[in-house]
Symmetry: none
DNA sequence: GATGAATGAGGTTTCATTCAT
DNA sequence: GATGAATGAAACCTCATTCAT
């Protein structure tokens, strides 16, 4: 999918490494080995080290997601269809194959960490995430407000709170799939349940009751 | 709340340290300093080190939550009231004051890490978490199934998927509050919105539509 | 001489290591090995690393020198005798045996580096040097001004410039001795020439011509 | 002054880089950037790397100094005038503008390092320095011996020791000017004091007392 | 001549963990 | 129970140096 530059290979390798060992235990040496580059090259592309690599994984994902959203949503006008499309796309980008689930795991587990970064030297990368994140949030919130204005979505709900609910729902549903895929534990539902549950969440929770 | 033994002081200090720096950057030396004990003493109480401390924070929380749930739910029979009470209690234990929000942050961010632990020596502590976690999951799933059996909750929803949605919704709503409290960023909603949104999630999404 | 605490052992080992390899090539690992301590312990006493070790060598020397000067000069009132005593003491502390010459070499070669340090984190150590240095400069300048006031020293000379000349003269004369001791090269003079030359420098250059 | 070939630009850039960061912290990458060439090119001109660059800075300086000395001294016969000319020329070459002071700093601080070099591969460059250095020393020592023979300079002084004194005096006086120029610290004297003090050093210390 | 991405040896540095007191 | 100086494995990270272009 993404062009196989060495920079991208490093990010892919880091995704795998972090997914398997967690950020705390991921080592630069192993990332380098997985990407089949020297450890020094990682610092050439990401001078601030491991944290910048993690941030860059996130930036790359959000950029692609936002780009695709923009394209996909262009031709859809119905708020229900639009919000459903957002969920579908997130699902598609993170669940389609097991490789994607690694990315899902990293994004879900490490996203909160992003908000905590104060390092002055990483301000730029951090800002990029914030921009992409705000863009995403704005997309969702706009759809919700739009639906409320059109009388389709429940006007009594706070759009920001709804967005958090949707975000959390998608996150935990996907996370369960990851656990299922990577361990023996069954959490009691499958990919089809995710689709159906999210549809119902939109129809019943988000839409105006007749 | 909890008795101020040195052991508890260590866990409290660790919660703060991990909340501020993340598990990866938390150091035993700083935890010791914050707890006003020597670093050697941490190993007296938690011989397996940092990871055991993290696990112990989690165990302590889940034990208390499950205990209280048991007590509180005893006198409630209506499924809607029961599931609402679960949300209320989680909220209460994690949001009541800002100190609690630190705990919320640690639990939310580091919980996934728990599932990755294979360390033979920590099997016992890990098992304790699994037990508490299953107990919690079982409590929720039982309420949902019960409600479905009674024709109050929507029978077409997969109980496990619903549980993930509720868990994710509570998590993200609380997490937004933490961001708000610890940074200037406003996510667009407040404590009251959390209550109302969760109530609506239960009424509209979870309950059977008439 | 100095109490053989581990801290002092580290400074002694570092002096030797830096004298032999230069600051640029000195390694913490070798300093540790020479001091017979673990490399980690160096960071326990000198958290800012190699540069702090270098600064600390200097601080220790200047402190001792200033202390002894204070004691020795107490009982001397004649400006000529006083300034001679300063030169003698510097000589004594740096030349008496070959071990001392190592210290001399480090102090002479690396002193200029001290003035260049801007590192915010080393401000304290750097300030200590500045204080000791000013104390030393003040001692010398006072003697010179005193001698000028008494009509013994040449009043037309700028005391600060004279101090630089004396400092440079002592430095280069001692440095030559180090070269001689550590290599085969002969620079054409010996310890006795140093004494005589410095005496003449004081008598002829510094004193008022009759 | 010097022709702006890329080779010279590299040496100039290295002088600045080493003056600002010290030899230990100077990096080839920054030297290349300052010289506006690629780092690879430095190895084209100086295959032995950083040390060879440092040696080359020194060689270039001493060669020019010795050349000029030869020219300037040709027409002067009086020992006092000759030795004064040496001091003047050194001053001129190192103090005339602030750029020169950077060179002074590097030469003063890093000269001792030269004597420590044993690297077989740098034997040639090192030898060049030794040759230039001996030539310089010989020039001075000759003037002094000459003056002593003519009964103008004090015959009781060891010429080599005198040379060290003069060298140290010039060095420290110039060094003080550098400190003054690059920091706020005032060492209590200026360029005029340097001239006067050196004149007096020659007249009073070096010359025979009547 | 000139470039700069890429390497990897070798240094610095951290910090979990121990143990004598 | 409690301390904190001391250890050393193992990570991070730098940067001199190379080489295909």
């Amino acid at each position: 999918m993404t062009e196989q530059t060495k920079e991208n290979r490093i990010l892919d390798a880091a995704t795998l490494e972090i997914a398997e060992n967690g950020y705390a235990n991921a080592t630069m040496a192993r990332i380098a080995k997985r990407a089949n580059v020297s450890s020094g090259l990682i610092y050439f592309y990401f001078p601030k080290g491991k944290l910048q690599v993690l941030l860059s994984i996130t930036v790359r994902f959000w950029k692609i997601l936002n780009d695709r959203l923009e394209t996909q949503l262009e031709s859809i006008s119905d708020p229900v269809a639009r919000i459903t499309e957002v969920a579908r796309l997130a699902e598609f980008m993170l669940v389609r194959d097991n490789n994607r689930l690694y990315l899902a795991k990293v994004l879900i587990e490490e996203l909160p960490r992003m908000f905590m970064i104060n390092d002055e030297e990483l301000k730029d990368t951090r800002m990029e995430i914030t921009i992409q994140n705000r863009k995403f949030i704005h997309t969702i919130d706009s759809i919700i407000k739009d639906g409320q204005d059109q009388g389709i979505f429940d006007r009594d709900l706070n759009p920001s709170a709804v967005r958090q609910v949707l975000y959390g729902a998608v996150e935990m549903l996907l996370y369960g799939l990851f656990i299922k895929a990577s361990r023996n534990e069954d959490l009691g539902y499958g990919k089809d349940d995710v689709k159906y549950t999210l549809d119902m969440l939109i129809w019943k929770f988000l839409c105006k009751t007749p």
